[in-house]
């Protein structure tokens, strides 16, 4: 491939954000909105084109790009396989939706907001494209800057606390990963991921390096007990910020486990499986219980995100095909569903400026379209068959049953809890008695809100019934991942 299509994909939003910056000084913000919408849609179409022109039957990295970068020893290497393309398309899909949503909800400094979103998109796509540890770290960390500003500038009353917590937690986790990356360079002589796959990292280093990577990914996932930044960040962030945070930023960690931890440190991954299982189970059950008790809708969805990400980590560390495919599917599905739920909360928040469950009730009588969409997403969130939420959880649990009955049973119990908090939320917000008179005067969803929610609803149902396009893309790459993992375990443990 001669044309650097991945670089184009990464830097297109950055370049357009520069144009928005230059368009400063005009009175209306329409030009900024159109530029950002146009460029994010162009990025989306480009990513669809990449998806379409990919070869699913090969597990190799495709669209490779390589350029010498830091001195001679670190290359700026990009490439994608069946796993990363799905996350890229998810990113490019969610970004235009966020931009549409902020037309309604962001009143203040919208231009700067759009610039931050587009820069963030660049970094997010970069994370999923990079095939070099340093390049990955660069994009992974750089995303903190725009997200910090999004929470801090456009967030709610406790935004400063939340933004600091988000930034410092993530940074603290990541610096250990940086030490590990540098250490890997001195152990193997390269930071090129594909090279490291071949070289194999010696047994004695694996555990420590794995822990260093884990410290970063665990914070980002987030896993219990370092999940506490997430509810704060979600609650205080503006709608678009919460959507990006839930839909994409959390997935970086899951992706990181698949791309780095598993293939680079197979022995350590095997060794630490009980740890991951324990933390995931605690996350699923404990945070589901916490979610039950929330009065704040965003907080409830945030805790449900922690529980759902628990399934993801559980699935990845089963090392079975169903488990890993299930967790990737769960990530995509959670990306769509949680994004949609946060948008739903955003819709009513823009009208009444309250996220409290008690403010609402009986919405179904006054906002029928909204209520219908909300119920669709709530049901998808609890894993109703026919939605993507079901398939993800089902596959993860199938994978887990092959490894450990007890863990699988506990995780299944989490599904019940998930149903409990979601249904209860729906009951209190959508049904019930209308106590608040303001609700009677509310307008139903407008055109732009309709567009974003319907697109997400259609995707959730479409892939719930017909997951083949996603699974086909994944299939060979996941097979390859598992094969490599098994051969690694055999060869290294023999030595």
């Amino acid at each position: 491939m001669d044309f650097p299509i991945l670089s184009t994909l990464i830097f297109l939003p950055l370049v357009s954000s520069f144009f928005i910056f230059l368009s400063r000084g005009q009175k209306n913000n329409n030009s900024a909105i159109y530029i950002s919408l146009f460029s994010s849609l162009a990025t989306f179409i480009l990513s669809l084109f990449v998806w379409y022109s990919m070869d699913y039957t090969s597990a190799d990295f495709q669209f490779l790009e390589e350029q010498s970068w830091i001195n001679d020893f670190i290359k700026f290497k990009l490439g994608i396989d069946g796993i990363s393309i799905l996350f890229i398309v998810l990113t490019t899909l969610i970004t235009p939706i966020c931009i549409i949503s902020c037309i309604n909800s962001v009143k203040d400094r919208i231009k700067e907001f759009l610039i931050a979103i587009l820069i963030l998109e660049t970094f997010m796509i970069g994370v999923f494209c990079s095939l070099d540890l340093v390049v990955f770290y660069l994009f992974f960390e750089a995303g903190l800057i725009p997200m910090f500003l999004i929470i801090g500038v456009w967030g709610g009353p406790r935004r400063v606390y939340s933004a600091f917590k988000f930034f410092l937690f993530t940074l603290l986790g990541s610096v250990l990963m940086l030490v590990a990356i540098i250490a890997i360079y001195w152990i193997t002589g390269t930071t090129d991921v594909t090279e490291i796959y071949k070289i194999k990292i010696p047994k004695e280093y694996q555990n420590l390096l794995w822990l260093a990577f884990f410290s970063s990914f665990a914070v980002k996932t987030p896993m219990w007990p370092v999940h506490t930044w997430l509810p704060d960040a979600h609650v205080e962030a503006p709608t678009a910020g919460s959507v990006i945070l839930a839909a994409i930023l959390l997935k970086m960690a899951g992706y990181g486990f698949l791309r780095f931890s598993l293939p680079m440190f197979p022995l350590a991954s095997d060794y630490f499986t009980p740890l991951i299982f324990t933390l995931s189970i605690i996350a699923i059950i404990y945070t589901s219980l916490v979610a039950l008790m929330q009065d704040d809708m965003k907080k409830l969805i945030a805790y449900s995100s922690v529980a759902h990400m628990g399934y993801v980590t559980l699935g990845i560390f089963t090392f079975t095909k169903q488990g890993i495919e299930g967790s990737i599917f769960q990530m995509i599905s959670h990306g769509l569903i949680s994004a949609a739920l946060f948008l739903c909360v955003g819709v009513v928040y823009d009208r009444l400026y309250s996220r409290m469950i008690s403010t609402y009730g009986g919405l179904v009588n006054y906002l029928p379209k909204y209520s219908f969409l909300f119920i669709v997403f709530a049901l998808a969130g609890l894993g109703l068959p026919g939605t993507t939420g079901f398939l993800g959880e089902f596959l993860v649990l199938t994978g887990t049953f092959q490894k450990n009955y007890l863990v699988a049973m506990l995780a299944t119990f989490g599904v019940v809890l998930g149903a409990a908090y979601m249904l209860w939320l729906t009951k209190r917000v959508i049904f019930g008695v209308t106590k608040n008179d303001q609700i009677k005067n509310l307008k139903d969803v407008n055109k732009s809100e309709m567009i974003m929610l319907v697109i997400l609803a259609l995707l959730v149902i479409l892939f719930g019934f017909y997951p083949v396009p996603l699974m086909e893309t994944l299939n060979v790459s996941v097979d390859n991942l598992i094969n490599n993992y098994e051969t690694d375990i055999k060869t290294i443990s023999l030595n």
Binding site: R24, S68, E112, V134, R159, F164, L168, L171, V175
Partner: protein, 471 residues
């Protein structure tokens, strides 16, 4: 001998020009502007002279003066930094009524002192250069003589610095006593044998140098002097003498103390860790930006020393890369301070920055870039500086140093974020005057562009630095 004088050409040119403009200053009335512009011209021509001189190693005057790629690089860095410091602070100097013609001349004299420091290959020449530099700095610190704080900072700096110079001189004499020579190369040869006494000498010399680069535990003067001195002088203090000090530290490790590196290394590791921790923790409570930058500079010197502590060439290279990017960041940060002018008064408190993102979006954005870069967040230049240093540190398997260093970056990120919070999240309180200081804006622009685009081609700097140690 006379034929070789072209080795000294930049120094000779600088000396003669300083004396000439001093005479101009004495005989022409109200000559500040003239002298100021002439000084900039002199700095520029010295840069050209150095760029044109060869990079081969040549020694002169009984091998007490070296000219090589290493010293040329540092001289250019010192000159460029001084040029930016001087020009961006011109409006400030005029506003504060510091416009005495001696001002630029004393700066040039301190540059001359630093030239001899980085080029010296002999303890005596090194000490002379150091003293010339320090004397100029004492005067500069107290140049705003009617201001109590400025005079206080001058005295404080003078007393403490004289003490440290005394210790350094004591170390030098010990070194001469134990090795019988003042020449670096000869000392290096002697130290191979029995070195118990030389270790004492080394400790004293190190104390003196640590004082000059304001590393912990010899940092006590830094916050007071930074706060008390006029901002234009503070920015000079924060940038230029540190470059020279680091160059000398590396030089001492390269030549005279290369055989007792182990003992030297242990101390530097301690100093480096202590500076990183203190720089990170002590800055948290600061309310004055200059004081905060003082603590932040202590922290940054800690990172630069972490590279030096490795005791290998790749480590020194990483330190040089670090200090170069540090110079770029600090020049930008201080240039921002020149724009915080309200009704003819320069604001120095963090709370004065409250909400400036609404009325001064470009200034706020520049602050954002520079502060995130100081915190070492990718993809800005400051990240690569840290990356180079820690790559070198981990190469030597000094994992503890690397982990402590990176953890302190998280702590220090906190106070940089606090400033960003004040700028972006808080409500707008004051709006500053429209600045006429074009050069400060220019240097902010240069600094931010370098920091923002550094990731495109990060090897550009390290490729240059690699050539310094070829011989």
């Amino acid at each position: 001998m006379i034929n070789n004088l072209n080795i000294l050409l930049p120094e000779i040119f600088l000396t003669l020009s300083i004396f000439s403009i001093l005479m101009v200053g004495v005989f022409v009335k109200n000559s500040f502007n003239l002298i100021f512009n002439l000084s900039s011209l002199i700095i520029l021509s010295t840069i050209v002279l150095i760029l044109n001189s060869s990079n081969n190693v040549e020694k002169i005057f009984l091998e007490s003066f070296t000219r090589d790629a290493f010293s040329n690089f540092f001289k250019i860095l010192i000159l460029v930094a001084s040029l930016f410091v001087l020009n961006s602070s011109k409006n400030f100097i005029l506003d504060k009524k510091l416009a005495k013609f001696e001002y630029p001349i004393i700066i040039l004299l301190s540059i001359l002192g630093m030239f001899f420091m980085v080029s010296s290959n002999d303890i005596i020449l090194f000490y002379l250069g150091l003293e010339l530099q320090s004397l100029s700095l004492y005067i500069l610190a107290s140049i705003d003589r009617d201001n109590l704080k400025s005079s206080e900072s001058g005295i404080k700096y003078f007393v403490l610095s004289a003490l440290s110079s005394g210790l350094l001189l004591y170390g030098c004499s010990l070194l001469y006593g134990f090795t019988g020579s003042t020449n670096f190369d000869l000392i290096a040869g002697e130290l191979g044998k029995d070195n118990t006494g030389a270790v004492f000498a080394m400790v004293f010399i190190l104390v003196g140098l640590a004082f000059k680069v304001s590393a912990v535990p010899f940092h006590m003067w830094t916050p007071d002097v930074y706060e008390g001195a006029p901002t234009s002088i503070t920015s000079y203090f924060a940038v230029v003498p540190k470059v020279a000090g680091l160059a000398v530290l590396i030089k001492f490790m390269l030549i005279p103390f290369s055989k007792i590196l182990m003992e030297w290394q242990t101390i530097i590791i301690f100093i480096s860790i202590a500076s990183m921790i203190l720089g990170a923790v002590a800055a948290i409570g600061q309310k004055n930006i200059k004081r905060l930058l003082a603590y932040s500079s202590i922290g940054h010197i800690g990172y630069a020393l972490a590279g030096v502590a490795t005791g290998v060439i790749s480590g020194y290279e990483s330190s040089i890369v670090y200090i170069s990017i540090y110079v770029v960041m600090n020049l930008g940060a201080f240039s921002c301070l020149y724009l915080l002018k309200k009704d003819g008064e320069y604001k120095e408190n963090i709370s004065d920055l409250s909400g400036i993102s609404k009325k001064h979006p470009v200034l706020a954005l520049s602050f954002l870039v520079i502060l995130f870069s100081l915190a070492g967040i990718p993809p800005l230049g400051g990240f690569f500086a840290k990356f180079y240093v820690f790559t070198a540190v981990v190469e030597q398997k000094m994992y503890a140093l690397a982990i402590i260093g990176l953890l302190t970056t998280v702590i220090s990120a906190f106070y940089y974020l606090k400033i960003i919070k004040t700028i972006y999240f808080d409500d707008s309180v004051i709006s500053f005057d429209n600045s006429k200081n074009k050069f400060a804006q220019f240097s902010i622009f240069i600094s931010c562009s370098i920091l923002l685009t550094f990731f495109l081609y990060p090897s550009i700097l390290s490729n240059v630095v690699d050539t310094l140690f070829l011989n």
